[in-house]
């Protein structure tokens, strides 16, 4: 009943096309992330789904109903903003009660539902506080409670964690996942942070310049990037054009334009290629070496016991079995 489908969606930002011919499905109860750098069209897409932006073409279907032209205030879609967008003049309780009051929910039921929502996000004691007197993480939870209390058919979250500090972000990530599972709500999650998308999602949709570049489960997009763009986004730091890699590898993937290796896949100290250490940086669990080689610059991790100094020459291997074959979109 909360199945979202976007067909041939075209969106404009001002007069410039922001999203072109986007097709996307989100299953009932599924958590899908729209992942991409700023300007890729992910937030624009979310705003169109919310009804805050009229599409230039295409249709949006929610639970079998065409909502393309339905006003935003009649869509029953919960929205959580990057800035939280709490109503500064209303208490936590009244912020959460806002949508219910508009729906003319009776007082007793309203109290119960607001109480439940605040309990879900762990803010029961803060009901009387104004947003200005809450921490960033608490404001975030109020925004979430306010969106879920109306029992939306779909929950949209726009970079909800990006204003929190690193530790809190990790905590809230787990919380979001728990709440989504607990309520079974369908969720579309917009982020530019690949770790967040990997940790949270059932499925990740990677967007670039208004189009979908690749989609799949977190494991799929992480381990098997299809394009240099996705590989780069997923932390495949060594992306070499096909002309630079040894012949046998090229032959097994004739269509590939690039090959990529993660820094931890590069074997240092033995192999056919030699490079000079440009930088050696300590990263706690390992050392990172930046090498200048005939293949281009290569990043590799080594145990903290490794002794190569900056400026020294060493050999390395790019194991073919750990390469990702990429095709420029």
């Amino acid at each position: 009943m909360s199945h979202l489908q976007l067909d041939h969606l075209h969106l404009r930002y001002g007069n410039a096309p922001a999203v072109e011919d986007l097709n996307l499905e989100v299953q009932d109860g599924e958590l899908v992330s729209l992942l991409g750098p700023s300007g890729c069209g992910k937030t624009t897409t979310m705003r169109a789904v919310a009804g805050l932006l009229a599409p230039a073409g295409g249709t949006i279907t929610l639970g079998g109903q065409d909502i393309t032209r339905l006003p935003a205030n009649r869509r029953d879609i919960g929205l959580v903003f990057q800035s939280y967008a709490l109503f500064p003049h209303l208490s936590t309780f009244e912020n959460v009660a806002f949508g219910l009051r508009l729906r003319k929910v009776q007082d007793a039921e309203l109290r119960r539902r607001v109480g439940d929502a605040l309990e879900v996000v762990g803010l029961s004691e803060f009901a009387a506080r104004l947003p200005a007197n809450l921490s960033g993480g608490q404001q975030q939870r109020v925004a979430l409670a306010r969106a879920i209390v109306i029992e939306p058919r779909l929950l949209l979250l726009d970079e909800p964690l990006s204003n929190l500090d690193a530790k809190l972000r990790l905590d809230m990530r787990g919380e979001l996942r728990r709440i989504q599972r607990e309520l079974g709500v369908t969720m579309l999650y917009v982020t530019h942070d690949q770790d967040e998308a990997l940790a949270l999602s059932d499925r990740i949709v990677i967007m670039r310049a208004g189009r979908i570049e690749q989609q799949g489960t977190p494991e799929q997009v992480y381990a098997r990037p299809g394009t240099p763009f996705v590989a780069d986004f997923m932390g495949w730091q060594n992306i070499l054009s096909a002309g630079n890699v040894p012949e046998p590898l090229r032959r097994t993937h004739p269509a590939a334009t690039h090959f990529a290796w993660r820094p931890e896949s590069v074997t240092l100290g033995a192999g056919p290629t030699s490079g000079r250490v440009l930088a050696r940086t300590y990263q706690g669990e390992h050392l990172e070496f930046l090498l200048d080689s005939p293949l281009g610059r290569v990043k590799a991790f080594a145990p903290v016991t490794a002794q190569w100094a900056e400026g020294s020459e060493l050999t390395f291997t790019l194991p073919p079995e750990r390469a990702a074959a990429l095709r420029d979109a």
Binding site: G51, L79, A85, L86
Partner: protein, 258 residues
Amino acid sequence: MNSSRVPIIILYLTLVFLVGPFLVVFIAAFGGEPTLKFPPTSFSTQWFTKVFEVESFRSSFLTSLGLGLMSTSLALALGIPVAYALSRFRLPGAVVIQTVLTSPALVPGLVVGLALLQYFINLGGSVYPSLLAAHTALLLPYVVRVVSTSLINLKPDIEEAAISLGASRLTAFRLVVLPNIRGGVAAAAVLAFITSFDQVAVSLFLTGPGVSTLPISMLTFMEYNYDPTIAALSTLLIIFSIGLVLVFERVLGLSRYV
């Protein structure tokens, strides 16, 4: 003298220059002589009593008060929607709209008054409506500017949040926007009222027998009377302004809006 003290000394001297003359008016208002003299040689409060006895002051004060309240309300009613539209929508021709709306602040008040005198009153229009219209036009740019400032500082996403929770745009404005721009609206109202209440240039041509505003009555009175009545009235007006400024600076931070 330490050279780093020079700026603050200049600041204090400037303040004396700006506010000092008011003290002189206060003192002159309590003089006992029948013509204005400074410093006065005797003490009297009779001029304060006289302010309230002069019929033209009484009637013009009521005119100015009513005119100020009405033109302020009208300017708010016309101006708040414009400020909202300009800050929340991308309008084709927004520059033209903005220019038209600021134009009453660019055209000298005397010219506005003269124009309305020639093309409204002289063609049979009545005085009070044209005064009201001229004052309202004059206040609109202030209202739009001050309210726009508050609206720009208020992120549009709280309206979108309200809409996503089921509010229409009008409901979102009433429940979410208006409560958060109260300060700006109140500041706009205070500034607008004072601008109307103190207005001379626009009113000069638009007052006549029967209808006069307080500042115009004061100017007329001064032509024929040399006693300190005007000093007493000025004292009252200055005290009123000081009170207003202090209260609103404390409550609203008026200086942010001037």
